[in-house]
Symmetry: C2
Subunit: 386 residues, 2 copies
């Protein structure tokens, strides 16, 4: 296929790019996990994770990807037959439902149009009608539809009920200011391959006091994902089972890098600028946003004209141009592309994504006026240097 | 300074970017240089170097940067008091003169306006007048002015005389089709940190039969850079002194990468497209080219309006935006920027360079219409995927 050297650009919403500093930290020789050296690293990293979650609670670091963290969130806080409400507005909402059903929970699914955020009033109405609801399960950012859900508003509904708010924060923790304790989130989950700028393989989970109380009676089966064991081990700066040593080492380097560059507020600001610039560029190209009303700062979904085959476009971008963006998942397959601006992304990732989108459309024979996307984005991207 | 994570883009004409495959090859454990394993690698790499130079002659690989290779070219082919003609159209033409003077040669300098290529008719006239000229020293591509000199035309003048054509090919070998044997170049020098996509530290030098004959009587002092010793060692797949092991390992990986992606013709084609796209982008921005008549495919010099402080611009691009381009050298200091598209560069390096230039000018308060540079470049860059 390739007849010249093709550089690769990873612009999908996870796995995301890993900074060189972090790659180098992870390339260091493995240290044994049952040593004072690793315990010091583990404890320091756990403190960094608490700062990222904005919680006083322990943040457990599990050697699994985000879905394992989602499963742990369910099995550690709920019991067989419990009634839960799943906000189902995308592929990852469906994943909450699948996990809940697999463990014998009774699921009420609130179908949300793909591309829209859940309406807290609808959740409030359901909570009023069904006072046996033990949990609301939602995504902070629904990666498949590039929607940001109103987590803080949902937390206001669950806070004073015997009902947990369980949030898949896989593309919202470290992306947008969503402080766990202040928001009233009961279980918060994220994965290493997103805002943490690491390879996949590490999930982070924290429980509120209310969730820990629920944990005491939660009877769903769990062994590897036993969060109470992990919490007790973490109190001694260690883990119940073998930790993902190199990813924990990488996470320590990530926290140092974030700290050295202005901390999480600067990260949130960067994501916000990149997301707004990407949306402006997409609109300037005459394309429509998948989620114009509640866009995620992690990635931007672009609705493709009906004449464009989304699969062909993402393949052309990847195989011919070297640019990996995400296509649509589930019912959006072939109809959208998703341009990510999460984690180790900056100004020129947006410029590359938009110019590649223009050129990919042109390469497939569609009429494109080059430079419109980048021009609109560049104006907003200047905020990065203000 | 930095208040957010700033990605770094290296868009200067050397050192250039190193492909990940090559970085990983160089990260392998060092092998000892007096072993059959290294000899096999060294011999294979020397063969790849001959293919890149397009020569039947041995290509010596010296553990030094390009300037060391230039010095070796002079000291191995000339004698005290020899008369040489230096084409002096930029900082590296000046370097030829400095080396020649340091070794006691008599120098006739042909001053060429910075930004112009040498006129072969002028060289022909000088050669007619001074029949004691032992060498013409020129750059294939004068990096400081982004000019491509007409080497093949110069070779037609020296070929049938007792006069060597000594070419600094540091930003032309592997950039543009300049076959050593077919062109009639007598000494050709290049450095690892340009088209070879490697870190600095390796210089490659080859001599024609005519240059080897000159070598027999050349009396300038040399020890580390004794090319006859290196030639004899190379015939036994080894080197006179300790070779730059990891760079030779990297060079082997580079040659494999080039071979796997269509060979040198595809590399030349890529450089040509990138250079034309960059020039089109610069002109579309309303800026002028430093070398419109004979532009190098390695880098593009951009004349800045008098109101723009070139030093401030390159500093803003580097320190505020993370983008390293080259400023002007010598008499061009502060008046130009040079955007490189040499080595491991592709489509989006051009897009980044042009959008960064627009944004850098805007950041310094100059009026810029965003997207014009990228738009013009994108049109031409589509050739990459044709």
């Amino acid at each position: 296929m390739t007849t010249t050297i093709l550089k690769r650009y990873l612009l999908a919403p996870g796995p995301t790019q890993v900074p060189a500093e972090v790659q180098l930290a992870m390339a260091a020789p493995i240290i044994h996990h049952r040593t004072p050296q690793f315990s010091e690293l583990f404890g320091k990293t756990a403190a960094g994770a608490r700062a990222m979650f904005a919680t006083e609670q322990p943040v457990m670091m599990l050697a699994c990807t985000g879905t394992g963290g989602m499963e742990a969130a369910v099995t550690n806080t709920l019991s067989h037959g419990d009634h839960v409400l799943v906000v189902k507005g995308g592929k990852f909402g469906e994943r909450w439902e699948e996990i809940a059903l697999r463990y014998g929970l009774r699921v009420t699914a609130l179908d949300v149009e793909w591309g829209k955020a859940v309406d807290p009033a609808q959740v409030a109405a359901i909570l009023e009608q069904a006072d046996d609801l033990k949990a609301v399960l939602v995504q902070g950012s629904e990666t498949s539809t590039t929607v940001l859900h109103p987590v803080t508003e949902l937390a206001a509904l669950t806070r004073d009920r015997d009902c947990l708010l369980i949030v898949d924060g896989i593309t919202s923790v470290g992306v947008v200011d969503m402080p766990m304790d202040a928001s009233g989130i009961d279980v918060l989950v994220t994965g290493s391959q997103k805002a943490m700028m690491l390879p996949p393989g590490l999930a982070l989970v924290a429980l509120s006091e209310k969730a820990w109380r629920a944990n005491e009676s939660a009877d769903l089966p769990r062994y590897y994902f036993d969060l109470a064991r992990e919490r007790d081990a973490l109190a001694k700066d260690t883990s119940a089972y073998t930790p993902a040593v190199s990813l924990v080492t990488g996470l320590a380097a990530v926290f140092e890098l974030v700290e050295a560059t202005g901390g999480w507020p600067q990260v949130y600001r960067r994501h916000d600028i990149l997301a707004r610039a990407t949306r402006a560029g997409v609109l300037a190209m005459g394309l429509e946003l998948l989620a114009p009303d509640a866009p995620s700062p992690a990635a931007t979904g672009v609705l493709l004209p009906e004449t464009v085959d989304g699969g062909a476009l993402t393949r052309y971008l990847r195989d011919t141009m070297g640019v990996t963006v995400a296509g649509g998942q589930g019912r959006l397959k072939g109809r959208i592309v998703r341009l990510a601006h999460i984690g180790y992304a900056d100004t020129f990732d947006v410029v590359v994504a938009l110019s590649a989108l223009e050129m990919g459309l042109a390469g497939l024979g569609h009429e494109v006026e080059f430079g419109r996307g980048t021009a609109a984005a560049q104006k907003l991207l200047m905020e990065m240097y203000a």
